[in-house]
């Protein structure tokens, strides 16, 4: 039996190959994802371990709430007095304070920004003496005193910097010119991921970060007869003025690694979802291929049955072949993943997420999951055809045209499909509208797909008829009828394409809605003539000096700034907080549920406004009191004076005044600054603002409302492009499915094709016929996919209406999608069509 399987493979090499690819691509995405994220984790692990090599104990500030700031550093810092206390402890050989901040920007002398712009962040770190520093200098030396800085080799190379160059650094303090005195390596490596590292002396760093009496961390080295753990315990007994974490160097490195791992976990999950989609599509392909193969080998199976092979032996054959294909395909996929991982990394780099990945890490888990999942999916997909194979009656060996009788379950396919689809819709509705969670949405979507797939044979005849009508003549008619001949087979092939198209359509609709929502919200909120000033490294804050500077510009009628923070409400959770300046209503027209713009002027230190959705979900009304804990550990009681109903995205659930934010939340920096102008003068005033920013605040950029909308649109488009690329893998798999089905159906119709040629059909006409069949199949899939995408898109939009999501259908994009579907069919048909046209007439007619 084993021999039979292997020999059968040899006879069907092409078909086996196409099925293998279907498995391999899905598995490749799984293994590629794991390899990539494992590699990134390991790289970060190495970086952190290197950084903490000479450190016996690391003391870092502890915020009351984690991740309170936009740039990830703690809001709190450690007062310098504590350093002196640490130094006095017995067992401490050396202790230094450090300044570390990513709220910096680096510019060349000519004003060009180095790094930033949404890519890997720029980091300023104060130089530390041995044994703490991991930086060694190939060229130059470490910076000392004021006016000096160093960078790593990677930065110097890519930006063409030399010792002696003048560079400009902007931090929380004013812009400063520094001379490049050293180009170094970090732990022997020329860069840390894509980070741009600026190293200066401690005094210079304090000046740049405007942080003179406190440190970002304290590093301690103990003397010889004290272990790091003992030193840590000793230092823990001290009473620091602000809460701190005291860890050994290794513990700190482990903590950092764990933080990164958690952050990356989201990425891994997201990528695995795409892998799951690709495998889901692959399952359709495998099912289809096996079904067709079983049908073709009917006589062979019948023969085996007449020779006394039991049903189980026949099924065992098919299952064994499934196992073999699954294993081989999975191994291929695993290897392919090695190639895919760097590709994925490049993809993320292109949208600005430049993560370090030295070497390639293949964990045992990756190998096991890839092999098991790939094989399992293949086996499950091949199960139904395998069972079908057992129903071949032995007498089929004697007669031509014998058919495999339908199993008992065949009657239930259509109603079963309908039921599954309805169940799926119900699950989707529960997930979207009932708040039952995103897993239910995913499950619902999967059920709907399978349900539609089961129903699709019924859809094939009408769809093929109407789509195929565009093809002229006898050839077109033949193509239409061939597509309808075995609606089950056409349907399954088309269904594979449906998955990919639905997702592309849905994502397009969702993104379009998102863009429309943002545009509408911005248009409603921002008053005409308003300029929006933000950090050109999106997501990072601006020093408050920017707002002050803008006030002086001629023609600016009003300046208002907005800040972001977090809080704990009633001691639990993380609730985002916005703070605004009293001048906000001058430039920003907020929509209110209860209250008006005047409330924002009077927020003071004891009131807040909340958003409508937060008010509804937490049952808080005007007049109620909120008990908040801030990141610096302060406890506040604020009275709610109003409820906003605004979709601009500026307002977090709770809004307070900037004054309060600075005083109680420790938030000293602005996220966005609005500058109002008279619309008539807008252009001129903007020119002056640009000049100011260029001269004094090069990290900031000023945008008109239109430019801002375009920028946001651009960001959505970037993510959309990422989705398209990841989904394209699934689409490619389904294209292989179309090719596979075509090849198989041509093989089956050999005699028929021979007959057509014998009666005078030209080669070209045969090619056209095959091509039309492919296009019909592809377009059936694309049509169903677009319709489903529309349904999902509309459903999700309605569900999110409360959040302000607007429905906007990108009609042009959907039409392009449909056309691409047709083109995909043409592409898939190229090789099979050529094969069909080249069949030798006589041989085909004699084909048994």
């Amino acid at each position: 039996m084993l021999k039979l399987s292997l020999r059968s493979f040899g006879a069907r090499k092409l078909r086996v190959a196409l099925t293998l690819i279907a498995v391999a691509l899905g598995v490749a995405l799984i293994s590629g994802t794991y390899i990539l994220t494992d590699t990134i984790n390991k790289s970060f692990d190495n970086i952190f371990t290197t950084a903490s090599k000479g450190v016996d104990v690391s003391i870092t500030p502890r915020d009351a709430i984690d991740d309170a700031t936009q740039d990830g550093t703690a809001v709190s810092t450690i007062p310098a007095s504590f350093l002196r206390e640490v130094e006095r402890q017995p067992g401490v050989a050396k202790a230094v304070g450090t300044i570390d901040t990513s709220n910096v920007a680096l510019f060349k002398e000519n004003g060009d920004r180095i790094g930033g712009g949404g890519g890997a962040p720029t980091q300023l770190s104060s130089d530390t003496p041995a044994p703490f520093s991991a930086v060694t200098y190939e060229e130059g030396r470490a910076p000392t005193g004021m006016g000096e800085m160093a960078v790593l080799e990677q930065t110097a190379e890519s930006e063409d910097l030399k010792i002696g160059d003048t560079l400009k650094v902007v931090g929380a303090g004013p812009q400063t010119e520094l001379k490049l005195v050293g180009i170094g390596k970090f732990g022997g490596v020329s860069s840390i991921g894509g980070f741009t590292l600026i190293i200066t002396s401690l005094e210079q760093a304090q000046e740049l970060a405007d942080q003179h009496d406190s440190f970002s961390s304290i590093l301690v080295a103990g003397d010889e007869n004290v272990t790091p753990a003992e030193l840590r315990d000793e230092l823990r007994r001290l009473q620091p003025p602000t809460p701190v974490n005291v860890r050994t160097g290794q513990q700190q490195a482990d903590q950092n690694t764990a933080d990164i791992r958690e952050a990356l976990g989201f990425l891994t999950t997201a990528l695995l979802v795409f892998a799951g989609i690709a495998l889901f599509v692959g399952a359709f392909i495998i099912f289809n291929t096996f079904s067709i193969t079983v049908a073709q080998r009917m006589r062979e199976f019948a023969l085996l049955r007449t020779l006394g092979a039991s049903r189980r032996q026949v099924m065992g054959q098919v299952i064994f072949e499934g196992l073999l294909i699954g294993l081989i395909g999975s191994v291929l996929g695993l290897l392919l993943g090695l190639v895919l991982a760097p590709g994925l990394r490049g993809l993320f780099k292109a949208i600005g997420a430049d993560l370090p990945s030295e070497g390639t890490v293949v964990e045992p888990r990756t190998i096991i999951v890839s092999l098991v999942v790939g094989t399992l999916v293949t086996l499950l997909s091949g199960l139904a055809p395998a069972i079908r194979a057992t129903r071949v009656p032995p007498v089929a060996a004697l007669r031509e045209g014998a058919v495999i009788p339908h199993g008992r379950g065949a009657r239930f396919i259509t109603p079963g499909g309908a039921i599954l689809a309805v169940l799926g819709v119900a699950a989707l509705a529960a997930g979207l509208f009932g708040g039952a969670g995103i897993e239910l949405v995913g499950l619902g979507a999967g059920l709907v797909f399978i349900g539609i797939a089961l129903l699709s044979p019924k859809l094939v005849p009408p769809l093929a008829g109407s789509i195929g009508r565009m093809f002229p003549g006898v050839v077109g008619q033949l193509a239409r009828e061939n597509s309808v001949r075995q609606p089950g087979r056409t349907a399954v092939t088309a269904s594979a394409l449906v998955v990919g198209v639905t997702l592309v359509a849905f994502v397009s609709i969702f993104a379009q809605g998102l863009k429309a929502t943002i545009a509408e919200a911005v248009d409603t909120a921002a008053r005409p003539g308003s300029l929006i000033v933000q950090n050109s490294a999106l997501g990072f804050p601006l020093p408050s000096a920017v707002a002050t500077g803008l006030e002086q510009v001629d023609g600016v009628t009003s300046v208002s700034s907005v800040r972001f923070s977090v809080s704990r409400v009633d001691g639990v959770g993380r609730t985002a907080v916005t703070s605004v300046s009293p001048t906000l209503p001058d430039v920003f027209d907020t929509q209110w549920d209860q209250g008006d713009n005047a409330l924002l002027r009077d927020l003071g230190r004891d009131t807040a406004v909340i958003t409508k959705s937060w008010s509804d979900s937490h049952d808080v009304k005007v007049g109620d009191e909120l008990a908040l804990t801030t990141p610096t550990g302060e406890h506040l009681r604020l009275r709610v004076t109003g409820i906003t109903d605004d979709n601009s995205g500026v307002f977090a659930p709770i809004t307070v005044s900037n004054e309060l934010a600075e005083q109680a939340f420790g938030e000293r920096q602005d996220a966005i600054v609005f500058a109002g102008t008279n619309p008539a003068d807008e252009a001129a005033v903007k020119a002056r603002v640009d000049q100011l920013l260029e001269q004094q605040f090069p990290i900031a950029e000023a945008l008109t409302v239109q430019e801002f909308k375009d920028q946001q649109s651009g960001q959505v488009n970037q993510i959309l492009a990422l989705f398209y690329v990841l989904l394209s893998l699934s689409v490619i798999v389904s294209l292989f499915g179309i090719v596979n089905t075509l090849v198989l159906s041509i093989y089956e119709r050999t005699r028929e094709l021979g007959m057509l040629r014998a009666i005078g059909t030209s080669r070209r006409q045969v090619r056209r016929m095959i091509r039309y069949e492919a296009v019909i199949t592809a377009l059936i899939g694309a049509t169903i996919g677009i319709v489903m995408g529309l349904v999902f898109g509309i459903a999700v939009t309605i569900a999110l209406e409360d959040e302000g999501l607007v429905l906007s259908i990108p009609v042009a994009q959907l039409i392009v999608l449909l056309i691409l579907g047709g083109l995909a069919g043409v592409l898939a048909a190229v090789a099979p069509a050529r094969r069909a046209s080249r069949l030798n007439v006589l041989e085909s007619l004699a084909y048994e």
Binding site: M1, L303, L304, L307, G308, A309, L398
Partner: protein, 233 residues
């Protein structure tokens, strides 16, 4: 000499369809075949000869009546036991497509034993190969053999498990006269020298004349059942 009946049918009826459109392929056939017999079943198209063979071989279930093969009543046997019967007691030769194209001649011949998980009886196997005359063709695939050679491989396969009875459905239908003669002679030899029983369906009178007995059907009934003239040596 009357040997024990190896295959017998009693009042075999096979009807297809219902009511007005019903077709009666077999209309009460009673016949039995003795061990060591070479019988031919003849009849025009639609006479029911193929149907009779299908019922006798357990490939089809009669509407009514009973079939006994080697003392085993076929009616009421479940698929599992029917399968076992096919494996151990019945050999088949078809008109065409007898062999699996991916296996060699030898592998095809041994296929029934592989399915049963048994090893061939070496002496029997060698004798069979000699009788069939395919010693130099054993490693060839069906595509490398002529039609006649393929059928001889099929005969060897049918005989390898020493079945109680061999059913042949138009075994020479696709062959030229020389190959036909070879195959028929082979079947004859298997009966005369190897002690097998062969029941062959054919429409070819020359083929039928090689057998010991000809049973003729028309319209689902036996109309003639005679001994053939012994071959004149």
């Amino acid at each position: 000499m009357t040997n024990a009946a190896i295959v017998s049918a009693t009042d075999l009826v096979r009807r297809y369809g219902e009511g007005e459109a019903a077709v009666t392929a077999l209309d009460g056939v009673t016949v039995s075949f003795a061990q060591g017999e070479y019988a031919a079943i003849m009849g025009p198209s639609g006479s029911g000869k193929s149907t009779l063979m299908h019922c006798l071989a357990g490939l089809d279930r009669p509407t009514s009546g009973s079939v006994v093969v080697d003392d085993v009543e076929l009616a009421g046997l479940d698929d599992k036991r029917l399968t076992a019967l096919r494996r151990d007691k019945i050999g088949f030769i078809f008109q065409a497509f007898n062999l699996l194209p991916v296996l060699t001649a030898e592998e095809n011949i041994l296929l029934p034993l592989s399915i049963a998980g048994r090893k061939p009886d070496r002496d029997w196997y060698d004798q069979l190969i000699e009788t069939v005359g395919l010693r130099d063709r054993l490693t060839h695939r069906p595509s490398e053999l002529s039609g006649g050679q393929q059928q001889r491989v099929a005969v060897a396969r049918a005989l390898v498990s020493r079945p109680a009875v061999v059913f042949a459905d138009e075994p020479t239908g696709n062959l030229d006269s020389k190959s036909s003669a070879d195959v028929l002679e082979l079947l004859r030899t298997s009966v005369d020298q190897l002690g097998q029983t062969v029941i062959m369906v054919t429409h070819d009178q020359d083929a039928a004349d090689v057998a010991d007995r000809i049973v003729t059907l028309t319209d689902g009934r036996i109309v003639e059942d005679r001994r053939t003239q012994p071959a004149v040596v």
